[in-house]
Structures are given as C-alpha cells and as structure tokens.
Point group: C2
Chain length 149, copies 2
DNA sequence: TTCACTGCAAACCTTTTGCAATTCT
DNA sequence: AGAATTGCAAAAGGTTTGCAGTGAA
C-alpha cells in the first residue's frame, strides 16, 4: 500500500533530504486532510493532536514540499493540498511534466484533482491568435462537487 | 475617444458612486500602467507624480473597482490591472457575463487580455467526467509576449 | 561528526477596522 | 445639508530573516 505519506517521504529521501519529525508530522496532516490548508491551519491541526511544530518551520516545510511537487497551491487562497501521487510513476522525470487542475467545491471545500484534458487545444489556439508563447498555465474550477450538487 | 479612464469613471457615476479626487487619481494610474499593480505600487506611482493618497483609501478604491468589474485581479500575485472596456458595451448587463483570461509575459510583465475561446468545451468535458458542477473558473497563462518571444 | 534542519525572536509587509474629518452631489 | 468617502492611528494577519541549537545520516 503506497499512501501519500509513504510516497512523499520516500521522494524526499531520494532527493537527499532528511526525514525529520516536523516533516513527518506535516506530511501526515496533509495526507489526512481533504481540504487545502494554510500554514496556520496545519499548526492548529497539529496542536489538536498534541504536537507542536513552529510556524516558521511549517512555512519552510511547505516550501520544500512545493519545490518537490508534493503539494499544490490553490491560487485564490494560497493554501496547499497534497498532490495525487497514487496514479503516478515515482520516477522523477515522469512526475515533472504532469499537469493538474483542481475542482474546488464552494460548499464543502473538498478538492478533486483532474488531469489535463482538452486544454492543449485551447493553448494552441491562444498561441496562434495572439503570438504569445505559453510556458505555464494556472487553471482552477470553482463549483459544486458530486455530493453537494 | 473613450479611454479606460473616461469609461471607468462614467460607469462609477452611473452606479451612483462619487467621482472623488483619489478615485480619479487611482483610475488614471491604472489607465497608464501596462503591468498589474499592487496597492503599494499605486501609492508609489502617485508619489512620483507628487500626489498623495492614503494606502487604506487605495485598498478601498481597488475593492470598489473590482466590485464593479473595472479591474482584474491576477491570481498569482493579487495585483490588479484595468479591464479592457474599449471593445465592450457600456451596458451593465452585457458587461456582467464576460469572461476573460490573461496572458502574462514573464519577461516584461505586460498583460494581454483575451476572451474566452474553447474553454466551454473543456468545462463540459470536466463536468461530464467528474460530476462536478462548474460555476466559476480561474485561468491565466504565463509565458512570453510577441515582443519578448 | 557534520551539515541540514528546526526553533525562537524579531522584523517586515500587507490588509483590515473604527472613527472623526472631509468633500462630493 | 446629507451621505458617501477619505485619512489617520492602530491593530491584526501573514510571511520572512538571522542565528544559535538540535538531530538525522
């Protein structure tokens, strides 16, 4: 069973980063959460379970996770959420070019991650019409999830 | 000649809002700027031309302009930029449902605004595949503009 | 043992709030 | 005149920096 937790820590280790207690705790919290979390959200959740990690460290751990593509950042809130690693190869190269979009439920806050579909056509059209070279894109959808609709 | 400045102030007036000196100054700065600006960017630009508007007022003016769809907010930075009003009807109803996407140049910072093309197809696909009801979307492209490419 | 990482203190930057003074209409 | 808007002071919130101490490999 490869959980997010195991995979994430494994990927960090592979890159020569250290598996410290604060890092394990933060990854644990992210693994359990369905919603996106801010640094303070994480701090509060840890407090609830009797663990204390300094806010500054949480910021740095988030930064590290983001740099290694283990969390997504929600554009509109700046909060982060675990990436879906389950369906992916663990291979570094394979992971790097994946493109995800988020479906954010405005009612329950749950976030679903979908893979790029059809957007490449849009991008080609944009490039053709505007002579703009697209290198990155940010796309997120807000609405109602299957449960709340 | 309908400049952004004239149109924006006209729209505010139509809604019963007052055309004050600080509002005129901020709209002026936004009109001249090609890049997106933060509240402090605006404050600094005003200082350069010898005008002083309180930071808090700038925040409130931006809020007002955003509420009336006269500025776009860049997702990744929170900065704002004038909307393209030139090609649009001034009619309230016509303006309300327009959907824009931004092309942000990573080199010179210039921002181009394009109208929704092809994304509706993507949204329909997403809704079909995921049972998620899309109500809003955020999409911006980062890359190189025609000049910088 | 060594170097990456954490914790603490403090600074910094951004944004918000309350209220009195101002100024559009 | 009357109401909307601004400016000021202050607080609140979020994020970053520097450095000494700790702990993973």
């Amino acid at each position: 069973m490869h959980t997010y937790r195991d995979l994430a820590l494994h990927i960090l280790k592979d890159k020569g980063l250290r598996i410290t207690k604060p890092r394990r705790l933060v990854v644990d919290v992210l693994d359990k959460a369905e919603q996106a979390l801010s640094a303070y959200d994480i701090k509060d959740l840890l407090s609830e379970q009797g663990e204390k990690v300094d806010t500054v460290s949480i910021y740095r751990i988030i930064e590290c996770l983001e740099a290694n593509q283990l969390v997504h950042r929600i554009l509109t809130t700046g909060k982060v959420r675990k990436c879906q690693l389950e369906h992916e190869d663990h291979c570094q190269l394979e992971r790097s070019n994946h493109c995800h979009h988020l479906l954010i439920c405005q009612k329950c806050g749950d976030i679903e991650e979908i893979h790029c579909l059809g957007l490449t056509t849009v991008i080609k059209d944009v490039e053709k019409e505007s002579h703009f070279k697209v290198r990155e894109h940010n796309l997120e959808f807000l609405g109602l999830c299957a449960k709340c609709a």
